[in-house]
Amino acid sequence: MIISPRVKKLREESLNAVEKLSPERALLMTQFYKSDEAHGLSAPVLRAKAFKYLLSNKKLYIGDGELIVGERGPAPKETSTYPEISLHSLKDLEILDTREKVSFRVDAEVKAIYEKEIIPFWKGKSNRDRIMNLMSPEWLNAYNAGLFTEFQEQRAPGHTVLGYKMFSTGFLKLKQEISETISGLDWTGDPQAFEKHEELLAMNITCDAIIIYANRYADEIDMLAKEEKDQSRKKELAKMAAVCRKVPANAPENVHEMLQHYWFIHLGVITELNPWDSFNPGRLDQHLYRVYKKEKEEGTLSDEDLFDLLGCFWVKFNNHPAPPKMGVTASESSTYTDFCLINLGGVKPDGTDAVNEMTYILLDVIREMRILQPSSMVQISRKNPDRFIHKALDIIKTGFGQPSCFNTEAIIQELLRQGKNIVDARNGGSSGCVETGAFGTEAYWLTGYFNLPKVLELTLNNGFDSRTNIQVGLKTGFAQDYSSFDELMAAFKAQVNYLIDIKIRGNNVIMKTFANWLPVPFLSLLVEDCIQNGKDYNNGGARYNTTYIQGVGLGSITDILTSVRYNIYDRKRFSWKELLTATEADFKGYEQIQHDLIYDTPKYGNDDDYADQHAVAVFEIYYDAVNGKPDSRGGIHRINMLPTTSHVYFGSVLGATADGRKASKPLSEGISPSQGVDKQGPTSVIKSASKIDHLRTGGTLLNQKFSPQFFEDEESYNCLNALIRSYFTLDGHHIQFNVVNAETLRDAQKHPELFRDLIVRVAGYSDYFNNLGEDLQNEIILRTEHENA
């Protein structure tokens, strides 16, 4: 694939556009909520009418040369806010405007609008205010102490991916389905009939809204076409207008229609609310292949046109940074990335190899476009050919951090264990960072990161948090009280259970706030079986509902426990008093002890059972605490192990630890070993990481940094291929490669201006190195580089 001048220009424009905060959505939302129309409505109908108002009135944007149209804001990278979810104060706006990393320009005019219009109306009424008022004192204490974060505090639940159905149907058809469901309502036998009726009415309104929006585009493009002097662009515009009249009202029948169809849906989802992980086309190679094949057979699509369309589509994702976050949420997920993860490969619904021509075409697009968003991954099945992996390695080796590698067989087994049927499981994949989901049929919400090493810190201090001076955990005793390692582990388990129960109680309340006050009738149209159930996505309407709490710091907690066992209980090298004196002093004056903890104590990541057994023990405790507990929308709580950037925040609230880590330094990320402690190379890391049972999670994250020489020839490729396949044979869920040398990174840190395009793998996603905070930059530099010495 060669990028055409058109796509090159759009790509450059997207890269150069400055992130700005747009008040448009907040203003329209305020206008609607103030209007007479907003009174006396049920929650779903209110939200549906607000959605329709937004799509009927928001500004349209048609960029010069674009083939796929539609922006969330008035122009690329002009980013909406969601005051009904969380309201930015003037101070927040100031911080967003001036902060060094992941900033959003906020003009004086915008600040004035906020001050006069937005803040006065929404103050105290956002869902964030509601949540904070509803949480128990125990929840607030644990939250403030940094035991866990709360996903839904600034963003709505999303974590879902478009499935097969919506790529092959239009909204007129959905209206029909809705009307059939309404006529089937049992008003005498079903006490929920009224709620269902309201929800279905709301869904119907949102169908109209998205069709109105597409037709507005069609009209606008027609007008442009009339004025256009360039004959070929004129023709192009006429075609684009026709596409917008056809989709998303009707099912798409060619590549152009399918991409525009998806893009309207995507915009609908991220305009209705600000769901996590924006939204995602999922198994794009599978969906596109069907229409692509037909067009190829008919001879109606040239390769140039195909690449132009795909290039234009790719740029659209990059135009949409994640909505601006603030406070703790900004540090747990500090990035413009909005976690849209294109899935390639895997298996078909019948279980056969799904790699097709479109898979390779999209890999070419990823390589040539080389932009932050959308992110991409390859689902690797035993049934997929080696050529597929080699082609992915070709891109990975360029150091771009994409695509990441996932284990199809593990994903399917994880989903089957959770009770999905085999076809839904095969249609699944991973979204966000590494989260397993059944695409098009499941609402799998992430609710917060859980700071495992912090729980141990509390366990050593009778549940008391010295940083906030609050009794956060149970009074299980002090370090010196635990006469054996087993006693310590029993107390740790009790603390994990106690704190997880606090988090789950919070989750169950927060879910209800979304079900009751912030339903999403538009998103509900897209996920089966919300229409048939007459139930909202935010209220358990989907076929499958899963609630995740993400364990963070497995490598760190393993090293800390290993050190405690090794140095205090087994070898009796230090007493608790000596160790705690050293950690409380942050090892100042106790460097010899710190040295022994770092260099002369077993560590996770070296295929050493002595250390790794503690990873398994922590995993089992965490799993037992969370897995199987019901949530308040009819779903089940489960675990996954990923950090995004929360391991940096969680480290900042943690004192010095028994693994020799100084206070406030980042924790290990995902299930990767602590930075720099794996000394035996990638095979040992993989062996250690596969000792926990990935199949009982909804995703784990393993990051490995490689220097480019591991990718130098055919033989190296075969070895990497074997390395990945071996990890997957051991049921590993995911592995990603950061290909860059530390020297380059240090150079980039010193001369950011020379490395504007340096993308690195962070943890489950890629980011520009320049956009990362200094601490995260340092951590990435520190991660073991497996030099081929």
Binding site: E591, H595, G660, I686, C719, A722, L723, S726
Partner: protein, 266 residues
């Protein structure tokens, strides 16, 4: 019976096919000027000082270079790596130092590895009694065999030993039918002159056989004199430049004329 090993490398991908575990055995009868493993020269365990940093503070810690492993312990390590070795069709490589300097241990280790089903490779300078080669041939799938210089006097000068034994062992192995890869270190000013390259090529052409699988051209690389100081070995390579990538490419093409696959690096 135990063998003295100074390094165990997992995910070793340049010492034979696939993913391998390479055991670097301590002790070498040669003393090549360009040796990049000076810690492999002495046949005894050595104590070296290692610097371990904690923040800005440096701890100087004595470490032992060289540990004894039994053949059984070798197998335990291979078992841990088995899944990668099987998936990649890899195996185990004994390198050094000079593995043939510990013939009894090597024989026993190879025998055990072979009977456990592993592909086995021996990376050797060739400097050992022929009977040692005879006894390991049945348990070795691949030999990585160094040719450093064809001129006996120069060989003696730069490596400390004559090449007569080495060349006769090479012929012995070529006749054995076992796979062989010839490794030629490319050392500027020492063995890369036109005349020597020509005689190398002629030698290979003359001895070309079905089991000669590949020629590896190993470009000289500087490892700095610090490693030498640490092991108190004199460093005689000051001022020698690393061969450029274009020079290596040129040499690769030159040796490809023999009709044998040539690779730059291991």
């Amino acid at each position: 019976m135990k063998g003295l090993i100074f390094s165990v490398k997992r995910y070793s991908i340049h010492d034979g096919p696939g993913i391998r575990v390479t055991f670097f055995m301590k002790g070498c009868p040669l003393s090549c000027w360009w040796c990049h493993n000076p810690e492999g020269i002495s046949p005894d365990p050595e104590s070296v000082e290692q610097i371990e940093k904690v923040g800005e503070m440096e701890f100087i810690v004595p470490k032992q270079a060289g540990e004894y492993y039994s053949p059984g312990e070798i197998l335990v390590i291979l078992e841990k790596e088995k899944i990668f070795i099987e998936e990649s069709k890899g195996g185990v490589t004994f390198s050094g130092g000079e593995p043939m300097l510990q013939p009894e241990f090597l024989l026993e280790a190879l025998r055990k590895c072979k009977s456990a089903g592993y592909h086995t490779a021996v990376d050797t300078s060739g400097y050992s009694q022929p009977e040692n080669f005879h006894s390991i041939i049945p348990f070795t799938d691949l030999f990585l065999f160094d040719i450093k210089h064809l001129d006996n006097l120069k060989h003696l000068n730069f490596t400390g030993v004559s090449n007569e034994l080495i060349m006769s062992n090479l012929r012995l192995l070529l006749e054995s039918g076992k796979d062989i890869m010839i490794r030629i270190p490319v050392i500027p000013g020492i063995n890369d002159d036109k005349e020597h390259l020509e005689s190398l090529r002629d030698f290979i052409l003359k001895n070309k056989s079905r089991n000669l699988k590949k020629i590896n051209l190993l470009p000289y690389h500087r490892i700095g004199s610090s490693k030498y100081k640490k092991f108190q070995v004199p460093y005689r390579m000051d001022g020698v430049e690393v061969p450029s990538p274009s020079r290596m490419k040129e040499l690769k093409q030159y040796f490809e004329e023999t009709g044998i696959k040539v690779k730059i690096g291991g």
